[in-house]
């Protein structure tokens, strides 16, 4: 590294800020580091590795600080690469993936690519271990480079790391903003530090930083740019309940107000589904609770043959499902075992044992799904004690930072009853939630742990809150639970036919009972939910929305199916006689109730309300299979990202390396003989710098060349230097000599290897 201070003496400027600017650059880099470490920290708190992570990060910072004065940058880069390789290697060797090492590596590469396309890191099975293995390399390298005053390169390292988490969606807006400001501060202050800035120059930096923060916060005021100007996945619209609950994603977050989409999604025909309990059409389930949402760990696999029936007794239920819009989920009653129909080749099985299409279904696609509906005996459920239960710990684990009072409150509720086994406890919690919390779609996004907020801060919420809270509360009692999403019953348009709308999107809970398997619980107060949903459908009908009804449901004009014959009904004629009267009547009453309830309002505060912890991968396009439009926000974000990358590349020296390489490769258009010799000599210098070393500052050309002679310098280099010396210091050269010099350098470049080789070496040298 060249220390410019050696010979340029700084003027004793009255506003000499170099020391403070250096501190500013260090603080900026720490901020950037803190940004991505905080993402990793959040991840590790979910799985309980946070202490190890902090220890590893602290050690990495310490080692970087110790090594900074004694290790060269290139060696430090090697150390960082070794750290990264070693960490990920350790991860690969540790994670048990069947099929040996090669499969592990292939699987890891696949996972990594998947992560970069917006899947959360939390999907990984051993995410805690991964975070601990991954963290040291970027922390070490960026801090080392900062201490070496290589701010630009350091920022590229930190920025790339942060970008990974922005792409995976794990870094929220605030985190990203802090990271970006940190990066800007590090580069700005560092650059000013290197050039010995004065007060006015430092002022400019401060203004730029302030503008960055202010603009990125105020940009939300721009129409259509509501919440997250910094994340590439900008969500302009308030999400619907359905997006929040039922999608093909592996991650669900809880929070914020939602609205209901009244469009019809599916019609399901099933002779058996109407028997017994109200059907819940399940689409997926989640095992890992993050404090603000749910993540599904494990891999989705291709469907290959029937799935196991439930552990308890069961009855078969056949469902004919027809997609009414383009959609990426396949609802079925618990527990699905087999699927047939047009889409069979496209079916995958999620880790939660539900079917999912590889490609979104198109409107009109149909499939038949066979389910085995568990019919456990009440006695077996009650007497099960879960003493010998062997199930993945994921189903009972909670984030490190789950407040203790969640468990204490659960304990208290259970102590007031004589509930003993897991089944009874689940029933107690289910009914407690149903009775003690109200139903509303218009709630503020929770600020901390969802369950904690719902139990202690909130009066009402929607199904996601109820289901999350129930699952979490039972987990505090070591009862395995998972969070299930899908559609509630929907509109029963005839005895054996149901219409599922967006409004029916629902979340509930499955509790694992030893010997009986997963048992379904639904803690959401049903009547309020149904009435709210029906209001939305009614409003949409009044607005003339054509997607709201199928032929059958339109014929019913908003009412549920009743055993009265209807001449316009054609598909369900045969089954009209055997309806389930009382339940339907109740629903009808709810459905015709006057729609005064406040369903959805979009008057959120400027900065509040938005879900800042999740950049929002509720991608409507993915869900509905619509043509993705050219989203101006995405284009803007992409352009900003490209500019940033371009600047980073330039600052890191890669571009100048490329430029120098090209300059070295080709002689410019001819000038005077003296100029040409000078140019040829410059090309020779680049080549020699690549092959041997750069000429030192106080070193004359001849001293430089004779020192290279010992290393086997080509004699022709001396000839070029001699010609150029005469051109520069003597009385000039003629055209022939200039051409000779150019020809020699051309030959030398040619012999050295191709352009690509040079480019690589050049960048390898750090520009």
């Amino acid at each position: 590294m060249i220390d410019r201070d050696d010979w340029t003496v700084r003027d004793g400027h009255p506003y000499d800020l170099s020391g403070r600017l250096r501190i500013g650059a260090l603080v900026g880099m720490l901020l950037l580091t803190a940004a991505y470490v905080s993402v990793l920290y959040e991840i590790t708190t979910v799985v309980g590795e946070s202490r190890r992570l902090l220890a590893v990060v602290a050690v990495a910072l310490l080692v970087a600080t110790i090594l900074a004065p004694i290790v060269e940058p290139r060696r430090a880069a090697t150390i960082a690469l070794a750290l990264l390789g070693g960490g990920l290697g350790y991860y690969v060797l540790t994670v048990p993936i069947p099929g040996g090492l090669l499969d592990s590596i292939v699987s890891m590469i696949g996972d990594t690519l998947a992560l970069l396309t917006g899947l959360t890191v939390l999907r990984m099975t051993e995410v805690g271990l991964w975070a601990v293995c991954f963290a040291p390399a970027p922390v070490f390298l960026s801090w080392y480079l900062t201490l070496h005053r290589q701010y630009a390169t350091a920022t590229v390292v930190g920025g790339v790391t942060l970008s990974i988490f922005v792409l995976t969606g794990d870094a929220g807006t605030l985190t990203t903003l802090l990271g970006v400001v940190g990066a800007a501060a590090a580069i700005g202050a560092g650059d000013l530090d290197a050039h010995g800035a004065t007060l006015p120059e430092a002022d400019v930096l401060a203004i730029v930083l302030a503008t960055m923060i202010a603009v990125s916060l105020l940009v939300s005021a721009v129409p259509g740019g509501e919440a997250q100007p910094l994340t590439p996945d900008v969500e302009g619209e308030r999400q619907t309940m359905e997006e929040s609950v039922v999608t093909a994603d592996e991650q669900r977050s809880v929070g914020g107000p939602v609205e209901l989409s009244p469009e019809v999604r599916f019609t399901i025909q099933s002779e058996e589904a109407g028997d017994g309990d109200t059907p819940l059409w399940r689409t997926n389930a989640y095992d890992r609770y993050t404090g603000d949402g749910w993540v599904q760990s494990g891999d989705t696999v291709d469907y290959s043959g029937e799935l196991d029936p439930p552990e308890s007794d069961s009855e078969s239920v056949v469902q004919e499902v027809r997609a009414e819009t383009d959609i990426g989920v396949m609802p079925a009653l618990w527990k699905p075992t087999d699927v047939a129909g047009t889409q069979t080749q496209n079916v995958q099985v999620t880790p939660a044992e539900s079917f999912a299409p590889t490609q979104p279904l198109s409107a009109g696609d149909t499939y038949t799904v066979y389910s085995e509906r568990p019919t456990p005996s009440e006695e077996a459920l009650v007497t099960a004690d879960n003493e010998d239960v062997s199930i993945d710990e994921e189903y009972t684990s909670l984030p490190d930072d789950t407040p203790d009072r969640v468990g204490e409150a659960t304990e208290e509720i259970l102590n007031d009853t004589d509930a003993e086994g897991p089944y009874e406890k689940a029933e107690v919690i289910e009914s407690w939630l149903m009775e003690n919390r109200g139903y509303s779609l218009d709630v503020e996004s929770p600020d901390g742990d969802v369950t904690d907020e719902f139990l202690f801060e909130m009066e009402e919420g929607y199904c996601v809150y109820f289901a999350t809270s129930m699952a979490t509360m039972l987990r505090t009692q070591d009862i395995p639970t998972r969070y299930v999403v899908g559609y509630s019953e929907g509109q029963r348009v005839s005895e054996d036919e149901w219409v599922l709308r967006g409004t029916n999107a629902h979340a509930w809970v499955e509790v694992y009972i030893e010997g009986e398997g997963w048992v379904t619980f639904d803690p959401t107060p049903p009547s309020d939910r149904v009435s709210t949903a029906d209001e939305v459908v009614e409003e949409a009908r009044e607005d003339g929305d054509e997607d709201v009804d199928t032929e059958e449901s339109a014929a019913l004009d908003g009412d549920e199916w009743t055993p009265t014959p209807d001449p316009e009904e054609n598909r369900t004629d045969d089954d009209q006689e055997s309806g389930d009267g009382p339940e339907i009547n109740q629903t009808v009453d709810e459905a015709v109730a006057p729609g005064e309830g406040e369903v959805v309002h979009r008057d959120e505060e400027l900065l509040g309300g938005g879900d800042i912890d999740d950049p929002g991968d509720f991608d409507l396009d993915e869900f509905e299979g619509d043509e993705p439009g050219l989203d101006i926000e995405r284009v803007g974000a992409a352009v900003a990202l490209m500019i940033g990358i371009a600047a980073g590349v330039r600052r890191s020296g890669a571009a100048s390396a490329a430029h120098q390489t090209v300059v070295m490769r080709w002689q410019r258009a001819r000038g005077t003989p003296d100029e040409d010799a000078e140019q040829a000599f410059r090309r020779l210098s680049y080549l020699l710098a690549l092959e041997y070393r750069e000429r030192r500052r106080g070193e004359t050309v001849s001293a430089y060349l004779s020192s290279l002679d010992r290393l086997g310098l080509d004699d022709r280099a001396h000839r070029v230097a001699e010609i150029r010396q005469r051109a520069r210091y003597g009385d000039g050269i003629d055209r022939a000599e200039a051409e000779e010099a150019i020809a020699i350098v051309d030959d030398l470049v040619e012999e050295h290897g191709g352009l690509v080789t040079m480019m690589r070496e050049r960048i390898g040298q750090g520009g």
Partner: protein, 318 residues
Amino acid sequence: MQDRSTTDPLPVEKATELAEAVSDNIEDVIIGQRDAVEHLVTGVLARGHVLLEDVPGVGKTMLARALARSIDGEFRRVQFTPDLLPSDVTGTNVFNQKTQEFEFRPGPIFANVVLGDEINRAPPKTQSALLEAMEEEQVTVDGVTRAVPDPMVVIATQNSVEPERTYELPMAEVDRFMKKLSLGYPNERDEQRVLERVVGQHPIDELEPAATVDELRQAQRTVASIGVTDPIRAYATRLTRYTRENAQLGVSPRGTIKLLSAAQARAVLAGREYVIPDDVQVEARSVLAHRIRVGADASGRTGMDVAERALENVPVEQ
């Protein structure tokens, strides 16, 4: 006294031959000091004066005598003592009984090679008499100004031991010397060779001139005609400016001029018609170091250290 303008410069090759011949000649006497000899010769070719600082007995006087003999010039020596008067250097008017007139009896300064031994032992007034002659190439006695011979080279010596009995040369006067050199002790083999040569017949007595004074004068004009391009001037300026920025007192513009002259002579020595940065670098230490005063807080640094740092840190080409 000669008319200098009539002297034409030698071609560069001839000048190089002359410089090499003189150097070789001197080296017959001063064994193992090729660097110092070349520095002395380039100093002479560049019309400079040389200050030799060293411990006694390493051949300072012998170097000066050998130079004088090699160019077939007149050699005079002045031993500087505390009671030496200016007129002892410049010469004095003596009353001639026969002609009943004062007539000028030239001092030792009127020679081609003047050796001022232990110059720092004489009081400043006497020192400055010598120094005026060096810079102005003339002396003034009793109001009459007389030109000194051309060429006239002063080789002054200072002992670096016993500094308490000396009058340290003022900076303004040190500045008049183009170079300050030191010989140092010869290595073991060279010292044995010195003994072989010296015991018995001293080789200085057998030394044949390698050039005439006229030829030297011509060679000096050759040196003055050596090409110096802008990049060289810029480099020399960067070097001296660096010393000014990194020492209490740096090199004066006169120092920069002398540096370029010395570099021209060095180019002649290499048989080149133009100066390259290497020439500047070779001459820089001896030309710059004694012009730099480092100041009280230098913590042991010397002018030579500053010069070394300048060479290391100042970019040769920009």
